[in-house]
Each structure stands twice: as C-alpha cells, then as structure tokens.
C-alpha cells in the first residue's frame, strides 16, 4: 500500500457531475535504464480501476511513458450514496486500494 491522495466531494446531489482526483506515490521505473533494456526492471503502476456502488466507472491503463507519481482526474455522475473504491495495480502484482464514501442527497 503506497501513499496516495484522493480528492472526492463528500456530498453531492443526484445527477451532479462530480470531479475525482487520484494520485499515487510511485517512481514509475520505465525499464529503459542506461545499462540497456531492462537493466533496471520495469516497475510501474499499470492500471487504476475505480468502482462506484459496485460498478466500474473508470479504468486507466498506464505505460512506461507516464511520469512518476501519476495523478488522474475524471468525472462521474452522482446517482446514489455508495462507496467509491480505488485500486491501483503494479507490475509486481502488488496493489494499493482505498475506499471513499460518496453521499448523495435529493
């Protein structure tokens, strides 16, 4: 589990478009070290999957061209109160996950 920073509104009205930001601390090692291909093995966060109330709402695939500490911003429509679950998956298979409650009123 790596340090991460997620910004979501705590409350929204049904039908609102809400903006979500998710950043994770990761060196994003490209595998293109100066000693030749894979002299320093590739080690990146390759996927971020976000679900809202159980359904997938966002998925990003990342590649070695992405800088360290990737931060992604996206929007979704608030429908009903539920958990927004973030899951970052790394090359090693390790993952970092965090859950935020989005409360929807009206």
């Amino acid at each position: 589990m790596r340090p991460r920073r997620i910004v979501t509104p705590e409350k929204a009205k049904a039908g609102d478009v809400v903006e979500i930001r998710a950043a994770i601390l990761h060196p994003m090692v490209t595998g293109h070290g100066s000693g030749g291909p894979n002299s320093v093995p590739r080690d990146i966060v390759h996927t971020l999957i976000v679900t809202y109330d159980g359904a997938e709402i966002f998925r990003a695939e990342m590649f070695p061209g992405i800088a360290a500490n990737p931060q992604l911003t996206f929007t979704t429509v608030a429908t009903k109160t539920g958990d927004v679950v973030f899951r970052w998956v790394e090359d090693s298979g390790a993952f970092t996950t965090e859950t935020r409650r989005l409360t929807v009123e009206g």
């Binding site: 340090p3 920073r5 601390l25 060196p27 800088a67 500490n69």
Partner: protein
C-alpha cells in the same frame, strides 16, 4: 546590498506585471533587480497546480508528514504531536522563521536540523538522512503550516548576523570550473534563459519543492547542490555551517516573500 534594502525590491508572484518587464534586465542594469519567485516563470498550468492543494503532488509528502507527526516513531518514544500538539496551531509560521539560532546549543539550524535535533534529544533516535522520504515529509508538512506567510528570519543576533555575512560572501564568490558565483546568474541575469529554464532570483521560499526534473520532492539543499554541480564546483555537505549560512542569507534576502512550499519547480 543589505537584506532589508533588497527586500523592498521584492515583487510577489501575484503582481500583475508580465514577463516582458525582464526583457530590459541584464548585466548592465543599474537598478537592483526585483527579486522574483520562480513561480512567476512557471506555465499557467504548473502555477495552477502549485496553488491548488488538490492537484499539487507535493501534498503526497505533506500527507505523509501529517501521519509521521502523529505517530510514535518507535515504541514508547514520544510522537511530535506528544510535545507540540496540533501542528496547525503550534507550527503556524514556524518554518518561515528558519534557519534560526537554537536556544540550547546556540547553533544555527534549518528546519531539517531542528527536526533531527528533536529526534536525537527527545525521541532518542538516529537523525534522518537529508532527502530521505521521512525528513522530506516532515519538512514539507512543517512548511505547509507556513504556506502564504512571509519569510521572517531573525538576523540581529551575532551568530545569525555572522552567518548572513558568510552566506553573502559565498553568494558573490566565484566557484567551480565554470568560475561563476551565484550572483552572476541569480542577480545579474534573472528572467533570462539558461538552456531550457529561466533564471530565478534564488528565493528559497518554494522548498521543499516538487521538481519535475527530480520527479519528486527535494530539499533546498538538493537544489543548492544542483547549482554547485552545474558550475562544476564541489558541493558543500548537507547540514554544514556554510550550507546553513547560505540558507539563512537566502531567507534574509527573501524577507517578506510568502512561503510557497511545497512549490512546483521545473
């Protein structure tokens, strides 16, 4: 060129004047160059990222620092919060006053030195290494409690005044194989291009900063070291007297400028 005289020329990053004002600034300028934060030379996007705490990636370290502040560093050793309480209250504006002379030892300390003094004296632990994630996190967390406040280092005491003089000498002394002093770039050529970047006035207010070149947060020491390596000089040691003296001189030069850490730098 006393710090107080220089400080009148300082211009905030929010001043309305555009970059064109620097077109006329060159080695022959007779007026002192206005001191400008490197924030002024960022793109609009990066400047917005710096100011928006939801986007500034330096906050990844600030968050870690907040955790470290509350947590016991080792079993039955006091946390930072155990002595200092809520940092929002107890540490507000503190980082803006550093480097400062330590009341107990009479030695000049920067924020990193002060954190390590606490670790050794009160937490009975080994000091943290410069630019280790832990020390960066704590330094960034403390700087965050001074964000927007004016730099207000004290330079009146004999120890501080002597250090400012030492720092000033270092600033204007040529060094390295390229035989350049700090002043040749950061006084005489502010706003001009040096290879891919724009020369700033050397205000220390943004550090520790998230530097794109580093792909992460780095200390003011790391930045000073980069300049020294750039002119092919042998860098001074982290935490050495000359290093802290230079930090104090830079802070004295920036008196009144708002703390911007964690800033975004290229």
């Amino acid at each position: 060129m006393t710090p107080t005289r220089r400080s009148r020329w300082w211009m905030g990053p929010l001043a309305a004047a555009g970059l064109s004002v620097f077109a006329a600034v060159g080695p022959s300028a007779s007026e002192p160059t206005p001191l400008v934060s490197a924030t002024r030379f960022l793109s609009d996007d990066l400047r917005a990222e710096q100011q928006d705490e939801t986007r500034n990636r330096g906050m990844l370290w600030v968050d870690q620092g907040a955790d470290l502040w509350r947590r016991e560093p080792a079993p039955s050793q006091p946390s930072c919060a155990a002595c200092h309480g809520d940092a929002k209250a107890s540490m507000a504006g503190v980082a803006a006053r550093y480097p400062a002379v330590d009341g107990t030892t009479g030695r000049l300390q920067n924020v990193e030195g002060r954190i390590n003094a606490c670790r050794e004296r009160d937490q009975k632990l080994a000091p943290l290494a410069y630019d280790s994630d832990e020390l960066l996190a704590l330094t960034a967390f403390l700087a965050m409690q001074s964000r927007g406040r004016p730099v207000s280092v004290a330079t009146e005491s004999p120890a501080a005044a002597a250090a400012v003089e030492t720092g000033r000498r270092f600033w204007s002394e040529r060094q390295g194989q390229l035989n350049l002093a700090c002043t040749h770039c950061h006084d005489d050529n502010v706003g001009r291009r040096l290879r891919g970047d724009t020369l700033s006035s050397g205000l220390p207010t943004g550090y520790p900063a998230y530097r794109l070149e580093w792909q992460g947060l780095g200390s003011l020491y790391r930045r000073l070291r980069a300049c020294q390596i750039g002119v092919r000089a042998e860098p001074f040691q982290a935490g050495s007297d000359i290093h802290i003296a230079l930090e104090l001189f830079l802070a004295a030069r920036a008196l009144g400028a708002p703390v911007e850490a964690p800033a975004i730098r290229r």
